[in-house]
């Protein structure tokens, strides 16, 4: 906990917040009183409530379950609801911008449409083999495939990995780590019937081969998932499929 004792009541911190919209913008400085239990989201809220009623940001759950509040904090994508101010403060200053690699709507709010469109493009959607009239399928949690799926499933689609990824920046078509990570969980889901089409999607232009294994996703994922490992798994599956002439 000692790490979190940097800030104390009575101190001030400078927040440089990007203000603007799709047509452009600039940083505006705000001076914020510090309190002991203060997340970056709380600091942004303080600005909106006390100084700048027109400041736009996005949040919902407040506790790291929805990922709505992700933004760039001192150049790094983070959930702001779960980031204590003292953890990220640098030279008594915090710089906030909307998530990288996504179009901005206003101030700290970005448009996640592309992110979710790619999720679908990667066929990140379950294709059923049974119906509601059937009993739930018996699947051992100890099976290799289920363990692979479980290891990657707790993604909350916050787009932190997408913002951290250099390949996304380089190749605008690239489906990105979150979408491919979801595809990997489905490749390992024995109940799923969409494997052939998914294989086509992940080997097509913008698919898993765009990943350069720089692990930006894994080192930034607030849930400590490893999308790079999932993508490596997809690459292997893809190679095998190509050899077998399945793609």
């Amino acid at each position: 906990m000692s790490k979190l004792s940097v800030t104390k009541r009575g101190d001030f911190v400078k927040m440089c917040i990007w203000r603007g919209d799709a047509s452009g913008g600039s940083f505006v400085d705000y001076k914020i009183p510090v309190s002991e239990t203060q997340t970056v989201l709380d600091a942004v809220t303080w600005v909106q409530r006390n100084v700048e009623p027109g400041l736009s940001y996005r949040f919902a759950c407040r506790v790291g379950m929805c990922g709505s509040c992700a933004m760039m904090v001192n150049g790094r994508p983070r959930w702001t609801c779960r980031t204590h101010v003292s953890k990220v403060i640098k030279n008594n200053q915090i710089r906030l911008e909307p998530l990288r690699n996504l179009p901005v709507i206003k101030d700290l709010v970005c448009d996640l449409s592309d992110f979710f469109a790619k999720w679908l493009k990667a066929n990140g959607r379950f294709v059923p083999t049974a119906t509601r009239e059937h009993p739930v399928k018996k699947i051992s949690p100890l099976s290799r495939q289920r363990q692979a799926a479980n290891a990657a499933i707790e993604c909350i689609n916050c787009a932190v990995c997408y913002a951290a990824c250099d390949a996304v920046e380089q190749y605008p078509n690239y489906l990105g780590p979150a979408a491919l990570n979801r595809a990997w969980t489905l490749v390992n889901d024995v109940r799923d019937d969409g494997k052939r089409e998914r294989l086509r999607a992940i080997t097509a232009d913008g698919g898993c081969q765009c990943c350069h294994s720089q692990h930006g996703c894994a080192s930034h994922c607030p849930n400590e998932l490893n999308p790079a490992r999932s993508i490596a798994g997809l690459k292997q599956v893809a190679v095998t499929a190509i050899f077998k002439g399945e793609v």
């Binding site: 002991e36 239990t37 997340t39 027109g54 919902a60 379950m65 509601r132």
Partner: protein
Amino acid sequence: MLERIDTDILILGAGGAGLVAALHAYKGSPDLKLTIAVKGLMGKCGCTRMVQGGYNVALGPGDSIERHFMDTIVGGKWLPHQEMAWKLCETAVTRVQELENEIGCFFDREDDGSLHHKAFAGQTVDRTVHKGDLTGIEIINRLMEQVLALPIQRLEEHRALALIPNRAGDALAGVLLSDMRHGTMRLVRAKAVLMATGGGPSMYRYYTPSGEKSMDGLAMALRLGLPLRDMEMVQFHPTGLLGGKDTRMTGTVLEEGLRGAGGHLLDGSGRRFMFDYDEHGERATRDIVSRGIYAQMRSGHTTPNGGVYISMGHLGADNVRNKFRGMVKRCADCGFDLAGGRVEVVPTAHYFMGGLVCDPDTTTELPGLFVAGEDASGMHGANRLGGNGVANSTVFGGVAGDVMSSYAASAGPHQDPDETIVEAEISRALHPFSKKPGNVNSLREDLMDIMWGKVGVIRTAEGIKRGIGQIRQLKAELLETGVGEFDTIFNMTWNDWLNLRSLTETSEMIAQAALSRENSRGAHYREDFPQAGDLDDSYFTLARSSADGISVKQDAVVFSIIQPGESLIEGYHESAAQIRK
């Protein structure tokens, strides 16, 4: 700035109820035009996502729909609408199979591959299906993927402002919405509208729901004069995180399992106090522990922020860290040491059992309007069982989708909206731009204190009456409080104002219903009437708003399936008493 669009089915809300409704409506009538409007992002706001515990379903060994039903009725203190409760328990079975087999959710398994059912408070068998302690995320993510793939019009970051009736006032014509991204307003005409905006009693000093929740659905319904049931029934969770007024973390849930595992509750001086209130100590039920903590706080033995401590350290910090990884990390991220130290906690408003009156098929008094999820009422009675919340939203969301698809398919042309009401609602929404800017947040703080102090965990007639006076005064102040220069694009302060307006209106309804119920049942506790009252004479409250103000009446609970004292299962009451011990 008013755009007009038409759709066949409009769904308000994209939590469990809204998303399942969309899938069912599409399946029922794929040719109909379907639209979902949601206050935040698709799949990211709403409370189903925040479900930790799990989903109650009678699929496990030794379980039956009858047993699930009995637990729901007894847990609800005999106030539930029995047909609604039965529908909930019965349909949960096919709904869980649908979520697993068709939607792609994967719930935790036993080593032999069968579903794992865990024990949960108030249930006489291990029933709750779950995905670790993040069940809601699994359910909502999978539903969202399915919905995104269908040709459904998505209106994200659209806030519902008002339900608009037709000119005759005898059916719903559509909904007025504010498009927060573009700063415009939309009037969406629809043949069927589902209200699934979620409850979210965020008018309390401490609350658990997602931050955008402000009971907009019920506020819109009461403005139309529709009947609301069980409005006094607000469930408090005993252990919300307490970090002071200025952090949004305050009020969020620290899970039930901490007490179950042996966590201690200590007052400000470090003394364990729950045994002063109940022989089960910290392991007593939610309502008892909430009242114990509240009473302790009232007596002044509090922590620096005015609550009590939860202390886990005596169980071994490493052990706690292993067992409650997510909770420990969540606390640590924000500067609290749950594993080895003490964390301040406080009872926190969690779930709203009350809501719009509806039939088990989700229809309401107003033709064209359907309701599901926390906006609906009846199935939980005076208390909701843990695990029945997500069952409720997904079960009745699906029912609504089925019913609306046939309703809309056979409905005539769109209704013409009452333009006078449209105009009045637009100016109502824009009202704060015409006033001198003020401090919306301090009014919000005031409302939270009023509701917490006067209409909270422990209530008295005198306190509630004073609370009602203060709410009315606050409503008047809000109408004189502006939000700054005219700017409707992603203006959060304007939305804070609109949220507060919904909250003040629903708050008064809660207070009036609480005043009317002169006994103590489930979540509602009256210090001046501590007895539960005769079960055979059980009644529920029915509140309506009209030009003359709010009226609350009491209606007898219809015991259409079982009478108090009876059971659908032999030996149920005897064994239940044993298990609860």
